[in-house]
């Protein structure tokens, strides 16, 4: 890969990505997704398996807000007992979080 462009002060590194779980809704995970800089944050929603896949694809470490912790863990536990809808081959590992 080519050399990254010369570092400018404060230019966000787009390869740095984070995920912060803010809540759940049924089987969906609500989360903030950040690229490079906390200013660049967007609120997203994905079904739980898609969420895991998304974090893996983006190499984004995830944190869970305390208020969402219990609900998120419930979702996580349930995902072991309910059949997951149509996982695509090569999808993310469930063990990410």
């Amino acid at each position: 890969m080519a050399e990254p462009p010369a570092e400018q002060p404060g230019v966000p590194d787009i390869n740095k990505r984070w995920v912060r779980v803010t809540g759940t809704h049924g089987d969906f995970v609500l989360f903030d997704f950040t690229i490079g800089d906390p200013d660049l944050t967007v609120e997203l929603i994905l079904p739980f398996p898609a969420f895991l896949e998304f974090c893996a694809t983006n190499h984004a470490p995830a944190t869970v807000e305390p208020a969402a912790q219990a609900a998120y863990e419930r979702l996580h536990r349930r995902s072991w007992t309910i059949p997951l809808p149509q996982r695509r081959p090569g999808g993310a590992s469930d063990r990410l979080l």
């Binding site: 966000p12 787009i14 944050t41």
Partner: protein, 512 residues
């Protein structure tokens, strides 16, 4: 110690609220050599009575000074990210080139609305007597302009590689299905300032916008479209401010005068229905256009309207405001909307500035699972039949233009609320002429202000009147600035698909 002692002890600093009031309220004054009614001609005619403009609670106390600072910083980072994606060929990271069709629809259908919103807010920002709402509107006008710009800049990267993105502004003003979003905003912008804010700030930005932005942004992110996610950064962080303006204008009108209540209710009814009809394309985007899907339209409707909106209208009922009229029709339609609309674009793919396709088998299965009560019973056989025919070289085209609804301008494709097999026909006579509607919601809106809607620029009728470049498909496409065989027709066999296959073939090769 008494309160009086304290206040004389030392002159206290102004609070943020007071300081903001001083920074804004001074911008309004009583005119002397011209009557106020001449300087502000739009404040009374809608029937809204305001007794005390100072009762306006600034929902978001942001000064221009800090606004510039904050937005400039955000924008700087944003454009750095956009550049970075362009340099890294970000378009190669999307799941499939089919996805870009959602972006084409967004750029031609939604981004121009950001610009319309800019114009609308700039206009009403001039016409409110109160300095509070005036400042809020002016700030939002700038936001909307920034949103339009950011979206155009971001999507311009895709324009280098894919068809259909080359002339969004022209298309928005000409292409048949884009008259739906265009007329929606022109209806709002040609209303008075109070109706405009009810329409856009409240009904659209507050009640319905989550249905557009959250699932759309999630779909973009999940499908690897980080370019679109970048304009999400810009837009979503402003949304919170816009939503508070929507709530404040409603509270303000409802509290200022009892007579405002029925007017506001009628506007909420009207703009709920108009907004809901506008979101039809979002339903289709979510269920059909994302290679990897986020949630079904029905699920989004349940989460964002039935539950989220339910809580809001429960609170509004304290003012005597009820749920928007025909909300129950929208809920009855949630299992059909996206299917009816995608089938419509499949009917008229020859005149559509994005590609259409029959969903793959796993996609049909997803739809069957998400719509257990409607999809297999009503729509799956249709798509399977079309697929079968297409495979035999007999692709279905609808060669006759459809009847349109005079109010929402969508083809009259929607079915009876209680009978999904029968098209819903509604009509009325006004001054001896017939007018047709897709629903009771659209008919009610017409009946209240017929003079406004008898001017509707209905694309089908305009073609027949000879105002759209000619009478043949190539002539009309030419007038649309659409390139036959490139911008329109099926994804299968399109230049987009060919190019994508080449790229991904290269990718596979270089991986080995």
């Amino acid at each position: 110690m008494s309160i009086a002692d304290k206040s004389t002890a030392k002159p206290r600093k102004l609070g943020l609220k007071e300081r903001y009031a001083h920074l804004t309220r001074g911008l309004g004054w009583e005119t002397t050599y011209q009557p106020m009614s001449k300087v502000f001609p739009f404040t009374d005619y809608e029937g809204i009575k305001i007794h005390d403009w100072d009762k306006w609670q600034d929902p978001f106390r942001l000064t221009m000074d800090s606004y510039w600072k904050f937005q400039a910083e955000k924008e700087r980072k944003l454009y750095a990210v956009i550049d970075s994606f362009a340099q890294n060929n970000g378009h190669l990271n999307i799941t499939d080139a089919r996805y870009v069709n959602a972006i084409k629809l967004f750029l031609t259908g939604v981004s121009p609305l950001e610009y319309s919103a800019h114009r609308g807010y700039a206009h009403v920002g001039r016409h409110f007597v109160g300095a509070g709402p005036r400042i809020a509107c002016q700030m939002q006008a700038i936001d909307e302009l920034r949103h339009a710009q950011t979206q155009i800049h971001t999507i311009s990267h895709y324009n280098k590689f894919f068809d259909g993105l080359h002339d969004a502004r022209h298309m928005h003003d000409h292409v048949w299905y884009l008259s739906v979003p265009k007329s929606f905003f022109e209806d709002a912008c040609s209303a008075g300032p109070f109706e405009f804010l009810t329409a856009i700030s409240f009904s659209f930005e507050y009640v319905l916008t989550s249905l557009l932005f959250v699932p759309f942004m999630s779909g973009a992110a999940y499908n690897g479209d980080m370019a679109t996610v970048t304009f999400g950064f810009s837009a979503q962080s402003d949304e919170a401010r816009h939503m508070t303006l929507g709530l404040e204008i409603i509270k303000f009108m409802l509290e200022q005068d009892e007579g405002n209540v029925p007017i506001v209710q009628r506007w909420i009814d009207k703009w709920f229905w108009r907004g809901y009809r506008l979101l039809t394309i979002v339903a289709m985007m979510m269920d059909y256009m994302l290679p990897k899907r986020v949630m079904s339209w029905a699920e989004a409707w349940e989460i964002y309207f039935e539950q989220g909106g339910g809580a809001l209208f429960e609170d509004l009922s304290r003012y005597g405001i009820r749920m928007p009229k025909y909300h129950e029709v929208a809920s009855k339609e949630k299992g059909r909307l996206s299917h009816e609309v995608w089938a419509t674009f499949y009917n008229y793919t020859q005149a559509t500035a994005f590609h259409t396709w029959i969903p793959e088998k796993d996609e049909l299965d997803w739809l069957s699972a998400k719509y257990p009560e409607t999809f297999d019973q009503l729509y799956r056989p249709r798509f399977e039949y079309w697929k079968e025919q297409s495979d035999q070289g007999k692709r279905f085209y609808n060669n006759v233009l459809p009847q349109l609804c005079v109010t929402c301008q969508i083809p009259m494709i929607f079915t009876e609320p209680d009978d999904p097999k029968t098209i819903c026909f509604r009509s009325t006579l006004y001054k001896g002429e017939r007018y047709h509607f897709c629903s009771d919601g659209c008919k009610d809106i017409f009946l209240y202000e017929p003079e406004k809607y008898i001017q509707s620029w209905l694309p089908v009728h305009q073609i027949y009147q000879g105002n759209c470049g000619g009478a043949t498909v190539p002539e009309v496409l030419n007038w649309y600035h659409m390139s036959l065989g490139n911008d329109n027709m099926d994804y299968q066999g399109s230049p987009d698909e060919t190019l994508w296959n080449e790229w991904t073939a290269d990718r596979h090769k270089s991986a080995i």
